[in-house]
């Protein structure tokens, strides 16, 4: 296993300490339980927007803690949801009296652990709401299954809802907004290589030199199908087509396009893919009004990318544009 590590079991805490040193003005961290809070938390009379989940998806979520986005983030072990106590600790550090909105990616473990935390916090008198992000169209949706995963769309939701909270929107309003973003965002991802989890020591799956995985998640799980490597046009088409069909996004729609690196993809290839996506969307008459290109929801060193589309309207665009001041997003 080729990693820059000391004790593999301590990777999350060690990384958190480094992060705190790198951004002393923006965040504070704790390592037991692991959590990251805004340096100025709690912010009085402001809804606390808190997210979390397994580590290994950086900058998600800790990189988005700061004014205009998250109040706190709760990183579990690598690819493993945090425990309820950790979530509860984050709530009690970040809560400023206006309630807490939990942003949970739809994985059984995250949902169950955050659910328990919400119950415990409610029992202690904090008002808690939850939004479950489930934007991954690679997963067939049904009430009989675990449902769709939360992936790249989570970043967009966190930015927009975080902006609303910063502007003083109340818990009800933040919750409704979060549901609205969740309904309008769709994603799909692919991988050229697999990530290696530190406590496992070998790649999560193996792919031949001429193969890729389509419909991958962000935890090293294999995708829906393994297909021959295609060129950038073919790859981007395979991601965008199901995304567009699902909502659906149609001619005249105004969208935000996130071209997301899974972690190890060179920026050159990411921009190249972004250009292809903009061309394909223009051909369909879909108008890209905002864009974000970079590693935002990653899976350790996995090479590959995901495409996320959010259907914009005036409110969402204004919230997207409003200032944000976090380690990974800043304007």
């Amino acid at each position: 296993m080729k990693k820059i590590l000391n004790e593999p079991a301590n990777v999350v805490g060690d990384a958190l300490r480094g992060m705190a040193l790198a951004h002393p003005d923006l965040v504070r961290v704790r390592t037991d339980p692991a959590l990251i809070v805004r340096a100025d938390a709690p912010v009085r009379d402001t809804v606390a927007v808190i997210s979390g989940g397994g580590s290994g998806h950086e900058p998600l979520h800790g990189g988005f803690v700061g004014p205009g986005m998250l109040s706190a983030a709760v990183p579990g072990p690598v690819f493993t949801s945090p425990t309820p106590d950790a979530v509860q600790a984050a709530i009690s550090q970040a809560e400023g009296g206006a309630g807490t909105l939990l942003v949970v990616k739809n994985y059984t473990g995250d949902v169950l652990n955050f659910e328990t935390a919400a119950e415990l916090a409610s029992a202690e008198g904090t008002e808690v709401r939850t939004v479950v992000v489930q934007d991954d169209v690679a997963v067939r949706d049904s009430t009989h299954t675990a449902g769709r995963r939360g992936v790249g769309g989570t970043v967009l939701l966190e930015k927009i809802v975080g902006a609303a909270a910063q502007q003083g929107t109340d818990l009800d309003g933040c919750h409704r907004l979060a549901e609205r973003v969740s309904e309008r965002v769709r994603s799909m991802g692919m991988a050229l290589t697999a990530p290696t989890v530190p406590h496992v020591g070998e790649p999560s799956f193996t792919l031949d030199e001429d193969e890729m995985e389509i419909g991958i998640g962000i935890h090293g799980e294999p995708g829906r199908e393994r297909v021959p490597l295609d060129n950038a046009d073919g790859i981007v088409r395979r991601l965008l087509d199901p995304v567009l069909e699902d909502l659906p996004f149609t001619e005249g729609d105004e969208v935000l396009l996130l071209t997301n690196s899974m972690g190890g993809t060179p920026l050159m290839e990411l921009y190249l893919a972004h250009g292809v996506a903009e061309r394909l969307l223009a051909e369909r008459g879909i108008r890209v009004q905002r864009r974000l290109v970079g590693p935002y929801t990653t899976s350790l060193e996995m090479q590959g990318l995901s495409m996320t589309l959010l259907k914009l309207d005036a409110e969402l665009t204004e919230l997207w544009d409003s200032p944000v001041h976090t380690p990974a997003l800043h304007w």
Partner: protein, 218 residues
């Protein structure tokens, strides 16, 4: 040969030992159809359980199981933490004040544990989850208890059925948990949670037999 608090603690320690021994196997199973952490998660959780049992030995079987439940919830994370945690908490409630477990009390605890997993995870038999080991275990335990067997025998029956149940998950297409994301590709691999359930029950049963033998010798 009823089962005392000491026997319960011994069984739990045996469970922890088997999880540590099978950590890598469980990681491997989860790597095929999940995210490669089940062995790591369970190992972290049961090491914490042993530490807790050592530092504050519980006085009743129910207290022991409750301690396991809360410790798993606060140390495992993932899907298996809340699910196993709930199972042990519910089993603890089912035991009430009982000081020594017999076959039928055990069935009640197993059943309550399974219902806890069902309530939280919403999985049914055939979804390729730990339910596919738990549910036949409960059935077998019931049948065994109804035929008048003692705690150790009931546990042995449950363990056997769980083992077979876990093996049947190999051919299933997952509908719950992370493996469901793979669709048809999830078939051909044993579910890690079903496997850990079978491992735990086997360890409990073995400890039960040892305890029973000790009890018989007493």
């Amino acid at each position: 040969m009823p089962c005392t608090t000491q026997d319960v603690i011994a069984a739990l320690c045996a469970g922890a030992k088997t999880i540590t021994e099978h950590r890598d196997e469980l990681v491997r199973l989860d790597r095929s159809i999940g995210d490669a952490d089940h062995g790591e998660n369970m190992d972290r959780g049961f090491r914490a359980v042993v530490a807790q049992l050592d530092s504050a030995p519980p006085e009743t079987p129910a207290a022991a199981l409750k301690l396991v439940g809360t410790t798993l919830i606060s140390s495992v994370g993932g899907a298996s933490g809340p699910l196993y945690g709930t199972a042990f908490l519910r089993a603890a409630s089912a035991l009430g004040e009982t000081a020594e477990l017999d076959g039928s009390v055990l069935v009640g605890a197993l059943q309550a544990g399974m219902e806890g997993v069902e309530a939280r995870g919403k999985a049914v038999t055939g979804d390729k989850t730990m339910i596919d080991a738990l549910s036949p275990a409960v059935e077998a335990a019931k049948a065994s208890a109804e035929s008048g067997a003692g705690a150790a025998t009931v546990l042995a029956a449950a363990a056997d059925a769980a083992h077979t149940g876990a093996e049947t998950t190999e051919s299933l297409v997952a509908r719950k948990g992370r493996a469901s994301y793979l669709g048809e590709r999830s078939a051909g691999h044993v579910d890690p949670g079903a496997r850990s359930t079978a491992l735990l029950l086997a360890a409990f049963a073995e400890a039960g037999e040892a305890g029973g033998a000790a009890g018989a010798a007493r």
